[in-house]
């Protein structure tokens, strides 16, 4: 069956290229993370600029790899844990670079973004299976595609929001202690970071709502229980609830300055939990999922 040998050989070759490219992306994220940490410790703006340049490179390569994957598999790259992690690391980088235009000299949020990009890449490469085989029948649903794609995009925006909030919290702490640092400690800047973080949540919340609804519709069509979901699907609902509490608290003047930021950071923890659960924690706790993923 020479035809099949050619097909399999071609697929193997394309996968080898993709994996090498993705390892390079992970390495660049890791290097960028080190430089961002160095920048925070030394306040050196040049190091911050270099770190951001590396994140640009990682993001560009990541975009190319996601597009390559879509070409290689002949479908949207949302069906396996490997694909979703690659999509997430790409989306969080792109969102950060977009938000960074507002705060060109502030590099602190980059440390969280590069950490997330590095973590997602390493998890995908070490834990997930990169195979682009046939899709499990239950996953062949447009509801699933929308659910997975919108969840990934909204998570990335919320992650950047959490990064800005964490940077504002760190800046605020430095301000209160009167300590200088790599973070430009300025009250107006801290408020600007918080306000922009709030705007990002406002943008991402409807997308996450649509994702949860699409996930419930898919589960109802596939298994009949829209709430009989695995942790990988219920965690977005919990994340949505946390951010709903955040938006409510930001609308109450008395809670805006205290509870709001804490909830944004709690939401960031939920995101990290969702990403980790499908891989590390499931293996650690031996928690099998009903969710049929490929690889």
């Amino acid at each position: 069956m020479p035809n099949y040998e050619m097909i399999l050989s071609r697929d193997s070759y394309l996968l080898a290229i993709e994996l090498r490219g993705y390892w390079a992306v992970a390495a660049i994220y890791g290097l960028s993370l080190i430089l961002f940490i160095f920048h925070i410790l030394t306040s050196h703006q040049g190091v911050g600029r270099a770190a951001r340049a590396l994140i640009w490179a990682a993001g560009a390569l990541n975009v190319a790899l996601v597009a390559f994957r879509a070409f290689e598999a002949g479908r949207a790259p949302v069906y396996s844990g490997y694909e979703r992690l690659a999509l997430f690391s790409m989306a969080v980088t792109v969102t950060y670079l977009f938000a960074a235009r507002r705060f060109p000299k502030i590099y602190t949020p980059g440390v969280f973004v590069s950490a997330l990009g590095f973590g997602a890449s390493v998890t995908a490469l070490l834990i997930a299976s990169p195979g682009a085989g046939p899709v499990a029948p239950e996953l062949e649903s447009c509801w699933f595609v929308w659910h997975a794609a919108l969840a990934t995009v909204s998570y990335s925006v919320l992650a950047v929001s959490g990064s800005l909030e964490a940077s504002a919290a760190a800046s605020g702490g430095l301000l209160r202690r009167g300590a200088p640092g790599a973070i430009a400690a300025d009250a107006e800047l801290v408020e600007g970071l918080r306000a922009y973080a709030h705007r990002l949540v406002i943008f991402a919340f409807p997308l996450l709502s649509i994702s949860v609804l699409a996930g419930a519709a898919w589960a109802d069509a596939a298994w009949g229980g829209y709430l009989s979901l695995t942790p990988g699907l219920t965690l977005p609902l919990i994340t949505l609830t946390v951010f709903a509490v955040y938006l409510h608290s930001m609308a109450v003047p008395a809670l805006r300055g205290s509870l709001g930021p804490a909830l944004n950071l709690a939401g960031l923890a939920c995101l990290a939990g969702t990403l980790l659960w499908a891989s590390w924690l499931e293996r650690l706790l031996g928690a099998a999922g009903l969710y049929i993923y490929q690889g």
Binding site: L19, L126, G131, P134, W218, T241, V252
Partner: protein
């Protein structure tokens, strides 16, 4: 007035009518029920309880539905209270500070006219309310109405969730061709179980008309599992490799079903993966399928039925035999072509060893050939495929869908549209007029600072400015 309510929700006492709020003893409960802080607590509790129940698999008991019920009461109370607030004027928070003060060169009369004209004609604001101290204007989407409708949708959604929790139940049914069967649930929903009742058998029956399966040629990835080997692949020292799988992968299966009531066919449809059959409040989902082979022994008259995957005893043949599932239907090749499968089953014989009982494969058996085992000839004379369907009865699905859709549409409308509330007043001290502004911007595209700057630029456009120094 509820102190923790955001600005423009305008609960009774802050803009609504006094007759809309209860008096006396229930007043405290009413204020608690309509409080945003209560909603925050309940949402937080729901998130934690849901995580405990669904993520960590620890039983949350009745706490989860109790929290959902409490949220439903909170939502209903808020919707009731906000309905009256919608009738009233837009109000501002009790404690707010003007965000900007601008000195104007106009006199008081001109300033009053020009400010209102600029806000109306240049910036598109409309008068919302005014009192002796402040004039309140608004622009953009009606966020009070959108928020109210959104919370109404949430009520429908949460009510649907509670209905599902109390009344939904599920089970499985196996259907063979030409053998109608009713649905006899073993146990009903939580409420029915609590009342120690059992749901009734359906008055209609279901029969399988046709079953078909689709397979696809699949590959297997030879890829190391340990991190070091994976790093070697990343560095180019090793390569992943796809190899063909021996058995095709099941791509999907469909069951054509007919509903029979009073000996008449009343409905017909297909249950497929991601496409359940719905009838009588039930939804039927294909789970798996079963096969029964009719095996003739030595050309005998009566064939023996053998369910694939289960142990079968034949007279004169060793301990027992097992037949693997026959792949029937169509096969999609890797090159995109499709062909009809030539089905076969692998016959295995029971063997006893130190480890216990196992089954050792003997040979393939197809529809066209025979197989001799222990001197006896086995031939397949027929194959019957049945479908195993999961069913679910859930009256809460439609309220959740309708409420969910409403909520999503309104959340998008509320958060993706800009809305502004602007309050201003003018005061004159020693002949100098000061404009004080407070602005609230809602929605992603909103930019309150830009609106204020446009207002200021317009009001000060005729002011004298220092000439630029060369």
């Amino acid at each position: 007035m509820d102190t923790d309510n955001p600005t423009t929700t305008g609960l009774p006492g802050s803009g609504g009518t006094e007759s809309s709020s209860p008096r006396g003893a229930p007043r405290v409960l009413y204020r608690l029920a309509t409080s945003v802080t209560t909603a925050l607590w309940l949402l937080g509790a729901l998130a934690i309880l849901y995580a405990i129940d669904r993520v960590f698999g620890l039983p949350a008991g009745p706490l989860l539905p109790m929290a959902a019920l409490a949220l439903l009461v909170n939502l209903a109370s808020c919707v009731y209270a906000r309905y009256f607030a919608l009738q009233g004027p837009v109000s501002l928070p009790r404690d707010f500070f003007p965000s900007r003060s601008i000195l104007l060169t106009q006199d008081m009369t001109d300033a009053r006219i020009e400010v209102r004209q600029t806000l109306r004609e240049e910036l598109g604001f409309t008068l919302a309310s005014k009192d002796p101290e402040w004039v309140v204007m608004e622009k953009g989407s009606n966020r009070r109405l959108l928020s109210w409708l959104f919370h109404l949708g949430m009520i429908v959604c949460v009510a649907g969730l509670l209905i599902s929790y109390l009344f939904a139940y599920e089970g499985t049914v196996t259907l063979w061709p030409d053998r109608p069967d009713t649905i006899e649930p073993e146990a009903g929903g939580r409420l029915i179980r609590l009342l120690r009742m059992t749901p009734k058998e359906t008055p209609w029956s279901l029969v399988l008309d046709e079953f078909s399966a689709e397979y696809a040629e699949a590959s297997r990835l030879e890829y190391p599992g340990d991190p070091v080997s994976r790093l070697a692949v990343g560095l180019g020292w090793d390569s992943p490799e796809y190899s063909p799988r021996k058995a095709p992968a099941l791509k999907g299966h469909k069951s054509v079903l007919r509903v029979i009531s009073n000996n008449k066919a009343v409905y017909s449809g297909t249950a497929s993966v991601n496409g359940p059959l719905k009838y009588g409040g039930y939804a039927f989902y294909p789970k798996t399928f079963v096969q029964s082979l009719q095996i003739r022994l030595d050309g005998g008259f009566l064939p023996i039925s053998a369910r694939t995957g289960t142990e079968v005893f034949f007279p004169g043949i060793g301990p027992s035999l097992k037949f693997s599932t026959m792949a029937t239907g169509t096969l999609e090749r890797m090159d995109g072509t499709t062909e009809t499968l030539a089905p076969y089953t692998v016959v295995s014989k029971a063997v006893y060893n130190a480890g216990g009982k196992g089954f050792a494969p003997l040979d393939k058996l197809t529809l066209d050939t025979g197989l001799i085992v222990d001197g006896r000839l086995l031939t397949i004379v027929g194959i019957t495929e049945g479908t195993v369907l999961g069913y679910r009865y859930d009256p809460g699905v439609w309220p959740v869908r309708a409420g969910g859709l409403l909520v999503v549409l309104l959340v998008c409308a509320r958060l993706y549209s800009a809305s502004y509330i602007l309050a201003y007043n003018l005061e004159e001290v020693d002949g100098i007029v000061t404009l004080r502004l407070y602005i609230e911007a809602g929605g992603f595209p909103a930019d309150g600072a830009r609106v204020v700057q446009r207002l200021v630029d317009h009001l000060t456009r005729n002011d004298l400015r220092p000439a630029p120094v060369d």
